[in-house]
């Protein structure tokens, strides 16, 4: 287990940090970027494409770079440090990851190549009203007429669903199980209603009414397991993104304590506040460790191990993120309640990441089902 970055990884981190920092170093820039649809900077998206970031996870033959999870994690951390609004996680890691995992070679080359080039934005339409987190679809159903497939039902919330150029849609298959489909958003029978989310992101309700759909990969195949694994990878990458945001929150908080005066002295004169900052640091370090470990497990582990590592990282990110976020606001005081100041929005974004694919309590339930089956945990085994 090696927690250090090699030279290439450090170079990647510096490059992404430079690009993202330039765009969003000043929080007001981020605030402006999310004000109007699509909720991010198309220009910045193009720059990320140019730098090769949008193709990082995909195989070279699919138009990507074939980088490993550590590299993807680095990108997510850097995006998290400024809560850059570009949909790398939703479009590249999640939706792109599904195409990479389940698509035919032709589909991969076509879709991922365009995604990597910044020409085509993907979105994964999966959540369904009234259902909780999971890997299967139920309310959107697929039916086949010969080789032609069509989808009916409602997906909501779909991250970046209104802006997407191509939808990856999960649907219940006629013979049972869940399949994945590619749907053109301008196809007949597709309606989209986009809206902003509280962290400046975007989501949509996407309704399908007999909309034409192309099976992703082999038609009719139950790919629930593939969806689950890509979701697990996304959980870990969301954890990386949250980690970056938490680092910024702690930094902002300690900077504030050092400079803000009350009662004629700076706030770091007050031991009770300093000790709470120390506890934030503890949460951050523990989160850092689990996220870095889970990122390595993606490279080395089988799907079950990845699932467990993702659940463990998500649990810690949820607990640590809430602690760090809530304390960051409290230690700042009133200023952190305002939209003009960055801290509140960082906390909002952490909250959104926390509820994207299952919060800490959800992960406790997941892990509880297996807790009786082993003796002690051993991170070196995976």
């Amino acid at each position: 287990m090696d927690f250090t970055y090699d030279d290439e990884q450090e170079a990647l981190r510096d490059a992404v940090r430079g690009l993202v920092g330039k765009a969003y170093h000043d929080y007001e820039q981020r605030r402006q970027a999310v004000k109007e649809d699509p909720g991010f900077s198309e220009q910045q998206w193009a720059r990320l494409a140019e730098m090769g970031v949008l193709g990082l996870p995909f195989a070279e033959e699919d138009g990507g770079v074939g980088a490993g999870p550590t590299e993807i994690g680095i990108v997510c951390q850097e995006l998290g440090r400024t809560i850059a609004p570009e949909p790398f996680l939703a479009s590249v890691v999640l939706a792109g990851g599904l195409v990479s995992a389940a698509g035919t070679p032709e589909q991969r080359a076509e879709v991922l190549g365009a995604l990597a080039a910044g020409e085509r934005l993907l979105a994964f339409a999966h959540d369904e009203p009234g259902r909780r987190w999971g890997a299967s679809a139920e309310q959107v159903t697929a039916s086949a007429d010969g080789d032609s497939w069509s989808l009916t039902g409602v997906k909501e919330p779909v991250p970046h669903g209104a802006r997407a150029d191509l939808l990856v849609v999960s649907a219940a298959l006629p013979e049972g199980g869940t399949g994945l489909f590619l749907v053109q958003p301008d196809a007949d029978g597709v309606t989209r209603e986009g809206y902003a989310t509280y962290d400046g992101g975007r989501a949509a309700k996407v309704a399908f009414d007999g909309a034409a759909a192309t099976p992703l990969g082999e038609a009719g195949l139950d790919v629930t397991a593939s969806i689950a694994t890509v979701q697990d990878i996304t959980r870990v990458m969301a954890g990386n993104q949250a980690l970056g945001a938490m680092q910024t929150l702690l930094k902002a908080t300690t900077d504030y304590l050092k400079t803000r005066k009350q009662f004629g002295v700076t706030l770091n004169t007050f031991q009770a506040l300093n000790f709470r900052a120390a506890d934030m640091y503890t949460s951050l370090e523990l989160t850092h460790s689990l996220v870095a470990w889970a990122t390595m497990v993606i490279a080395a582990g089988d799907p079950d191990e990845v699932a467990e590592a993702a659940a463990r990282a998500s649990l810690q990110v949820s607990r640590g993120g809430r602690h760090v976020g809530q304390e960051a606001i409290q230690l700042h005081g009133g200023i952190a309640m305002t939209a003009e100041y960055s801290v509140g929005m960082f906390v909002a974004h952490l909250t959104a990441l926390d509820h994207l694919l299952g919060d800490g309590n959800h992960q406790v339930r997941v892990l509880s089902t297996k807790v009786a089956d082993y003796d002690a945990l051993d991170p070196l085994d995976v």
């Binding site: 009203p129 987190w133 809206y195 992101g201 509820h355």
Partner: protein, 360 residues
């Protein structure tokens, strides 16, 4: 606030005027000024009942803050002029206390008032003025003597918010709402008659007012109502595995713990108000603020977790297929982070407990 939607100004005014017509808007005020002379305990129970029923409680700035101050410190003219309109919410009062550099350290406020003929001329800036955008008048702490120890040079002025030179700038909060404001004073002229109490006696009035604020500041009734609603929602919401969220032992346990702490808090509130002497809040009232806001926040966090994936869809309109309670859960959670900051932060409450009660 049933369903957690924000109320309009008109709804709040209507509710208070309806209560006032029945003699129940300010029942803790002296009878001569439209009250019934109720004890803290009577009033506490009354407010709790209003909250449980989802009825908007009388505007605190009027009923709990400036009203009692005018009744206690005001001149006869001030009482006659302001108290009836204050009770009936014909005047919407705002609070001009905090400043950008005077939050927890209120006494370091810098807004000045300088005597010029029969007027005070006020300059400076107030911050965190809740619902200031609706305000007709603002009761304001100003520095009237810059040369003495900081608490000793403060006075309270009543200022008409339509005065020339007074500007209200709404500040957007992290949930997108507008409920606090900056209030700027640029050579605002205030008649000398609008001084409350003694010149340079404002700190005494502020302590009186903040003490009143702390009694009954624990939003027990409304938090109970929201927790009961959370339970209903958990009972109605599928867990995706054939049951409901309330079938989950961890959800149940979380609710049990919250209910128990709320019960303990409610009983503590009854103990505290029953023992608070006139005008002097029981020191343990800091416990109510501290624990009350923590529980308020914890229940709002529970709501977000119950809402699950739907909780992100805060900006969705009526076309959404997601439940409205789920869509507003996170903005509410984020908004309520203020509860432990405003009105004397929880750190200030801990300070009060450790100093005043524990003698540390």
């Amino acid at each position: 606030m049933i369903e957690g939607r924000e109320l309009t100004k008109e709804q709040i005014v209507e509710a208070q005027q309806t209560l006032n017509a029945a003699g129940l808007a300010v029942p803790h005020w002296p009878e001569e000024y439209g009250g019934r002379g109720w004890t803290d305990l009577q009033r506490h129970i009354w407010l709790e009942e209003l909250q449980r029923a989802g009825v908007p409680t009388p505007l605190a700035f009027n009923a709990s803050m400036i009203g009692p101050v005018i009744a206690h410190f005001g001149t006869e003219e001030q009482k006659k002029e302001f108290l009836p309109k204050t009770a009936n919410l014909d005047i919407w009062w705002s609070q001009g206390f905090s400043e950008p550099d005077a939050g927890s350290d209120l006494a370091s406020l810098r807004t000045t008032a300088v005597k010029d003929g029969d007027d005070w001329v006020v300059n400076g800036q107030k911050a965190w003025t809740t619902l200031g955008q609706f305000g007709d008048w603002i009761f304001t702490l100003v520095r009237t003597d810059p040369d003495v120890k900081k608490q000793a040079g403060i006075s309270m002025l009543l200022i008409d918010m339509t005065s020339p030179g007074l500007e209200v700038r709404p500040v957007q909060l992290i949930d997108g709402s507008y409920e606090v404001n900056e209030v700027w004073f640029d050579d605002v002229r205030v008649p000398a008659d609008n001084l409350v109490g003694e010149l340079n006696g404002g700190w005494t009035i502020a302590k009186f007012l903040l003490g009143n604020e702390r009694v009954g500041v624990a939003p027990v009734g409304s938090t109970k109502r929201i927790l009961a609603r959370a339970k209903d929602l958990a009972k109605e919401t599928s867990d995706g595995e054939g049951g409901t969220l309330l079938d989950d032992p961890l959800v149940r346990a979380r609710i049990v713990e919250l209910e128990n702490e709320l019960l303990a808090l409610e009983l503590t509130a009854l103990r505290v108000v029953a023992h608070s002497a006139d005008g002097e809040p029981h020191p343990a009232s800091s416990v109510l603020k501290l624990k009350g806001t923590e529980l308020q926040q914890a229940v709002s966090e529970l709501m977000v977790d119950l809402a699950g994936p739907a909780s992100v869809a805060s900006g969705a309109g009526d076309a959404s297929d997601l439940a409205e309670w789920a869509r507003i859960s996170t903005p509410t959670y984020l908004n309520l982070r203020k509860a432990s900051i405003y009105g004397g932060s929880n750190e200030i409450q801990r300070q009060i407990i450790s100093r005043t009660i524990l003698g540390l």
